[in-house]
């Protein structure tokens, strides 16, 4: 099935999210849409899937114009979509989820799941999905849940599959498995639209690459094109992807975490007996798939977690049991993982956000009264220094793009003399151009002699920044390895193998690599 988009334009008020986009997806090809966050990739796919009506332009399937007034039309035309956030009912089984919306019923409206089960088994065995139709979705690993989404589309006879940032939630191994599946689907004649901003994956899997920037197609590229070339197309200027980073010159070990355990209210151990230390002038990158205890680790340091056992020593002072304000005053700079939820007050101005945790200090306030002139001047300086793109520092923070919001958070946290800098997902959802800048600032803080902890789920970032890399899995530390370790080693550790076992496995190739990642459930 051939899909063609001609001159698709979608505007929201004054904002043009898609501007005359032309795109041809040939039958049985993997077509990647590469672009930064906010470039308009998802909007385009939502237009294609019938979720948005295009302002102008037309969609052609096998050279015939079609019009979708909703996802049902798109599905009927053979288009399937796997959203970045899964649309599954966690307490339903795989078969129930797949049947949802297209249930076949028998006598007196009794649900007939047998046909669905059969189809799932058939698809599962044809493409090697290994999905049990009777498993509860909430008990499945994320990678398998994603396959359920794919099955949902295939059961409805999707001939074109749209995958929206499918690898964002996967371990490296699961990503590899997804790539295999995509290859098999392609061999079976299904066309795939693969949306991503990860250059490595796009290069590995695509037949054709279309790059989108600011709502426009800026060109197509061959998968064999150099990474830097793709990146500069995506950003619109030359980008230096490799960070110029001198080797660390570690000083004293001033930040020590010993036997740290964090539990939730139910008594589950979300972080389990973690011990590590970071030296002055060193970056420790904490890797791991989202949700393996990283959030708890950073929040425990800041004093946001309730049930914390063990010890967190900074410069000889115990941080466990202190209030957030006391921890901040002890010289901790903290960039939370979710800047919109935890890092910024969206309706506050940029200037106010820049003093969100400094407002009680002179000169920003005196005797309980805020000094607006000083706050405004501080904002002007920081906006200039961190190149925050905004009309005015008095604009609300939620008018900024993700990258600029993150610059505001970083600017605030790096503003005072620090004894420890912790940043969780410092570049999530940030455009490539800003990433470069933010990374440089983080390294500069390291070079100034501050111990730095970076938590990231992006392997690229971990490898780029980390002088040493710690890997968390299910709340346990799988080990700390040097910064120049291989992706394979980190991938195995992220899937739950302790460092030495992972090394042993890599040293003995081809020996029982199958079923390793999913076999290890926490």
């Amino acid at each position: 099935m051939k899909l063609e988009l001609r001159g698709i334009t979608k505007s929201f008020g004054a904002l043009v999210a898609n501007d005359h986009i032309d795109l041809v997806v040939e039958s049985g090809e993997i077509h990647s849409l590469l672009g930064e966050n906010g470039a308009g990739k998802s909007t385009l796919m939502n237009v294609l899937y019938g979720l948005h009506e295009p302002t102008a332009g037309e969609i052609l399937i096998d050279d015939k114009p079609v019009k979708f007034s909703g996802p049902a039309d798109a599905m009927a035309a053979g288009i399937g979509m796997v959203h970045q956030h899964f649309m599954l009912v966690p307490v339903f089984t795989v078969a129930e989820n797949v049947a949802l919306g297209g249930e076949s019923t028998g006598f007196a409206g009794i649900l007939d799941l047998e046909a669905t089960r059969r189809k799932i088994r058939e698809i599962s065995s044809r493409f090697g999905f290994h999905v049990d139709p009777d498993a509860l979705v909430e008990e499945l690993p994320v990678g398998v849940q994603q396959r359920v989404e794919i099955i949902k589309a295939l059961v409805r006879n999707a001939r074109i599959l749209i995958l929206d940032e499918p690898t964002a939630v996967l371990t490296p191994r699961e990503t590899d498995e997804l790539m295999d599946i995509m290859g098999q689907l392609k061999a079976g004649g299904t066309s795939i639209v693969f949306i991503s901003h990860k250059l490595r994956e796009v290069k590995a899997i695509s037949d054709t690459i279309t790059v989108i920037r600011r709502g426009k197609v800026v060109g197509s590229a061959d998968p064999s094109a150099a990474t830097t070339e793709l990146a500069s197309m995506m950003v619109g200027r030359a980008v230096n992807l490799t960070l110029d980073k001198a080797d660390a010159t570690p000083g004293d070990e001033t930040f020590k975490v010993t036997n740290l355990t964090v539990m939730n209210d139910a008594g589950q151990r979300l972080l389990d007996d973690v011990t590590f230390s970071v030296s002055d002038g060193e970056i420790l990158a904490v890797a791991g798939v989202q949700g393996n205890g990283q959030t708890e680790l950073t929040e425990a340091v800041l004093g946001l977690q309730k049930h914390v056992m063990g010890s967190i020593m900074l410069d000889g002072k115990e941080l466990v049991g202190r209030s957030v304000r006391q921890v901040l005053d002890a010289g901790v700079g903290f960039v939370p993982e979710d800047r919109q939820d935890d890092g910024l007050v969206g309706e506050f101005s940029i200037a106010e956000n820049l003093v969100l945790d400094l407002y009680t200090k002179e000169p920003y306030s005196r005797f309980g009264s805020m000094n607006r002139a000083v706050i405004a001047r501080n904002a002007e300086e920081k906006v200039a220094e961190f190149d925050v793109r905004t009309q005015s520092a008095q604009d609300a923070a939620d008018t900024l793009s993700g990258g600029n919001q993150q610059k505001v958070v970083l600017a605030r946290e790096l503003a005072r003399p620090l004894k420890l800098f912790i940043a969780a997902q410092p570049t999530r959802g940030v455009d490539v151009g800003s990433i470069e800048f933010l990374h440089k600032r983080i390294v500069a803080e390291r070079d100034a002699g501050t111990p730095v902890v970076i938590v990231s789920t992006e392997l690229d970032e971990v490898l780029e920044l980390g002088d040493r890399i710690a890997v968390l899995f299910a709340g346990r530390l799988m080990g700390i390895v040097p910064g120049k370790s291989s992706r394979e080693l980190l991938g195995l550790m992220m899937a739950g193998l302790p460092a030495d076992e992972a090394r042993a496995q890599l040293d003995a190739p081809a020996a029982g690599t199958a079923g390793q990642s999913e076999g290890e459930l926490p």
Binding site: F12, A17, S42, T43, L302, G343, L356
Partner: protein, 402 residues
């Protein structure tokens, strides 16, 4: 790995519920919406006035013979009613006495407790709390103020300040309970303050039948306030407007400073706008809830002082009237800004002052005023309705992040 989806960070104590988000949207509507809501409410009120006027009904009987007669009957009916309302609330040259001509001072008198209690709702709201309990806080404030006002006899320079302080403390206690329960147990302030309203009214009734009862009266009413314990009248004995108005205006200035200039207000606004970010920035969200409810309650308590030491002079169970509930509308209409609240309170004071004049001079039921007030709430609570009536474009937020 199966926990990737289920392991989420623990819910912070201050997570916003769906309901508070709706309330936030309502409260954050812009000034245009407020003005248009008043206009639409007045138009519908006008329709009701016309429909219920027998002259209009009579003229409509021969509508097809003489449509102009119906229209002019409608015009005269509505313009008479609203004209009387306006004159009653501001200046009425036709009134018999010169005191009666100056309705503007009645407006100010009615507005005084509304300003104070409106500020109470406004302040709490900016910290993300919906204080429905102004009513109970007014009652407690009036009770405390009364206990000092008629229970003691102090020198003039001390007595009134003591009464004011007592009223503020009374309201602060009642508001503080809700704040404390919210901070410590997560009990929703809306539920708690509503319940505290009931407790307050029962408590004051009990006290009026026992400890605070006027021994010379058979009714549940307190003795008169001591002469030293009341607000001086600002314009002499011919007008009811009293020094409580000055307290109210000072409170507006104070709350405006608190919210916009002080570190405490910065904290409150941060907590109200994004409690999680506030917590991450080292603010103590629970302490914020407690202190803001103490201040909010104190402001409502001052409204109770304005009632008992300004206009009523003695305590009965009706001391708060409907002020505590009107205060919510006033804060809504004022978009939870201190000066917005001030002007909204003036408008509601005018409705009260002019309503009587409208009933007497234009023979329109005073209930129309209540209807108009309720319609204002309705239209403010439903901004999409106002937007669709006037085709105001809502700010689009989708698309950009796709």
């Amino acid at each position: 790995m199966s926990e990737t989806q289920t392991v989420k960070e623990p819910t912070p104590p201050a997570k916003e519920s769906q309901g508070s988000q709706v309330i936030r949207e309502i409260m954050a509507g812009n000034a245009v919406i407020s003005v248009l809501a008043v206009v639409v409410a007045l138009v519908i009120g006008g329709i009701l006035i016309a429909v219920t006027d027998p002259r209009v009904t009579a003229a409509a009987g021969y509508f097809f013979a003489d449509p102009a007669a119906t229209l002019s009957a409608i015009w005269s009916s509505v313009s008479e009613a609203y004209g009387a309302l306006w004159r009653g609330a501001t200046y009425d040259p036709t009134a018999r006495t010169w005191q009666g001509q100056l309705g503007i001072f009645e407006t100010l008198t009615f507005a005084t407790p509304l300003i104070l209690s409106g500020l109470a709702v406004t302040l709490a709201f900016r910290a993300g709390l919906f204080n429905i309990g102004a009513q109970g806080q007014i009652i407690l404030g009036a009770t405390f103020a009364g206990a000092v006002g008629f229970g003691m006899h102090l020198p003039p320079a001390i007595h009134l300040p003591a009464v004011i302080l007592a009223g503020a403390i009374g309201g602060a206690i009642w508001g503080g309970i809700a704040g404390f329960l919210k901070a410590r147990t997560g009990a929703h302030e809306v539920i708690v303050t509503i319940m505290l309203n009931y407790i307050a009214i029962s408590l004051v009734l009990y006290l009026l039948k026992n400890q605070l009862k006027d021994p010379n009266s058979t009714n549940p009413i307190s003795p008169q306030m001591d002469g030293n314990a009341v607000f001086p009248l600002l314009l002499g004995p011919n007008f009811r407007v009293h020094a409580g108005l000055i307290v109210a205006i000072l409170a507006v200035i104070g709350v405006a400073w608190l919210l916009n200039r002080s570190t405490l207000g910065f904290e409150y606004r941060a907590i109200g706008a994004n409690p999680k970010a506030a917590r991450t920035a080292g603010m103590l969200v629970s302490r914020g809830y407690i202190t803001v409810m103490l201040i909010s309650g104190a402001l409502a308590g001052l409204a109770g002082v304005a009632q008992i030491a300004g206009t009523e002079k003695s305590l009965d169970s009706e001391i708060a009237g409907s002020i505590g509930f009107d205060a919510i509308t006033v804060a809504l209409l004022g978009r939870s800004k201190p000066w917005g609240t001030f002007f909204a309170a003036l408008l509601f004071g005018a409705f009260k002052a002019g309503g009587t004049s409208m009933a007497v001079n234009a023979d329109v039921s005073i209930d129309i005023v209540a209807v108009v007030q309720s319609l204002i709430v309705l239209f403010i609570a439903a901004p999409p309705l106002i937007r669709s009536i006037f085709r105001i474009k809502a700010a689009r937020r989708e698309g950009a992040s796709a």
